[in-house]
Amino acid sequence: MRELPRGGRRTLVTTIALVIVSFVLMTFDLRASGEGVGGTLRNGAQAMFSPVQGLLGRAIAPVIDVVDGMANLAGLREENALLRAELQEMRTRVARVDELESQVALLQQAQDLELDREDITRVTANVLGGSDPLDLSFSIDRGTADGVLVGNPVIDPGGNVVGVVTDVFEGGARVLPLVAPTEAVGVTVGAQTGVVTGSGNPNRMELEILEATGPLGDGDVVVTGNTTSYPAGLTVGTVVSAASPEAAYLATQVRPLADVTRLRVVIVLGWPLPGEPGVTASTTEGGTSGTHDTTDTTVSGG
């Protein structure tokens, strides 16, 4: 590398200063566990960007559908250019109608979803946007004003586990999906209990059973176990490949039933229920926020 063209030393000093500032920010953010000044700044930024993200997201949704559609029509394109153009135009219209229909269907599905526990409140929310390639978390358009709290579980309209709310502000919240590498949940598969851990891959999760009593087969359904994080009995995914225990230890992969990269609508569950062990709520500057304590309790799902 050659010398910097102008003010080389000054630029290096600036860079080092910014690197130090970054490390200081990281330290404060970690110590504050996402609260404090960092949390306030996050809430402010998300409140500022959410409306634009929402508008942009709605505007590009048909385009993305068309892009997907065009990929499927690659063969036909080669056969007839005229037919391709006509078909593309039709697909644009259809994609728009499909988009609206699927949105309505998702909202209807969310409305009709029946849970084992009818006393759990639900908040239906639109998914606004994600952040970057290594971060699978996303924003939703419901927040403290709608009763959403930090730690609330999030499911898709089909009732499958998506993740948990990690940040919340007045008009929106941030959801960290279960497929994120930092996430894990206690689950049951048949009569066996284990832990499902996110891998960072939206299509795969790791399942570990420490006291396995029998083999697992392809397609075995994995549901949430008795934890404070989620109501028991919510579907998480299906076992991808059959596996047998070795010295009572069993590990395999699970395909999540909720596709976090394609979600348009989610449901935030009011869980744990007020008064039940495992949840505390507090009022902050930005509104009401709630957190789970780490005590694990048994919660009936039926």
Binding site: T11, V21, D29, F49, N201
Partner: protein
């Protein structure tokens, strides 16, 4: 005045890339990985800005992404600052030919992903140990190389000083 307007243009481009990153590329994830448009825009802008504004732009882009994401605050800011600095140091070599430019671009993006992964792991984000990290380290630079075909010339058109502007300065 000319320099200030170029910095504002670069900042607007980075903020636009943040919006596109957080909406379009939340859904468009070929093979499960999205391109990193923000780092690409920072690199493209740092080629033409003065060194200090270039580094500050990298930090700003990173901090905005940090604020909109769930990762620890300052992680992206650190990565993008370092990448912007390296871009300033290597930008003369990016002018040699298209191949060199592409290789350096891929390297810079890979360095950014690597910093996020390594520092993220140090602060318990566990990105390096996740199975998705290796794929991201491979695919994000390649995706950015493809996007760079459009983004680099666009930013050059926006930010490069014309002969008349150079004469004025």
């Amino acid at each position: 005045m000319i320099l200030r307007s170029r910095i504002l243009l670069a900042l607007a481009a980075v903020l636009a890339s943040v919006l596109i990153q957080t909406t379009v590329f939340r859904e468009l994830r070929p093979l499960g990985v999205a391109p990193d448009l923000v780092i690409l825009t920072v690199i493209a802008a740092a080629r033409w800005l003065d060194p200090q504004p270039a580094v500050l732009l990298g930090f700003t882009g990173g901090i905005v992404i940090d604020l909109l994401g769930a990762q620890v605050l300052g992680l992206r800011a650190l990565a993008y600052t370092v990448v912007a600095y390296l871009t300033v140091r290597l930008r003369d070599r990016m002018e040699v030919n298209v191949l060199t430019c592409g290789v350096i671009l891929v390297g810079l993006v890979a360095v950014g992903v690597l910093i996020v992964g390594v520092v993220g792991t140090l602060v318990q984000e566990q990105t390096v140990t996740s199975t998705g990290f290796a794929r991201a380290l491979l695919l994000v630079p390649l995706y950015d190389l493809v996007l760079g075909i459009a983004v680099l010339p666009l930013m050059t058109r926006l930010l490069r000083l014309s002969e008349r502007e150079k004469a004025l300065l």
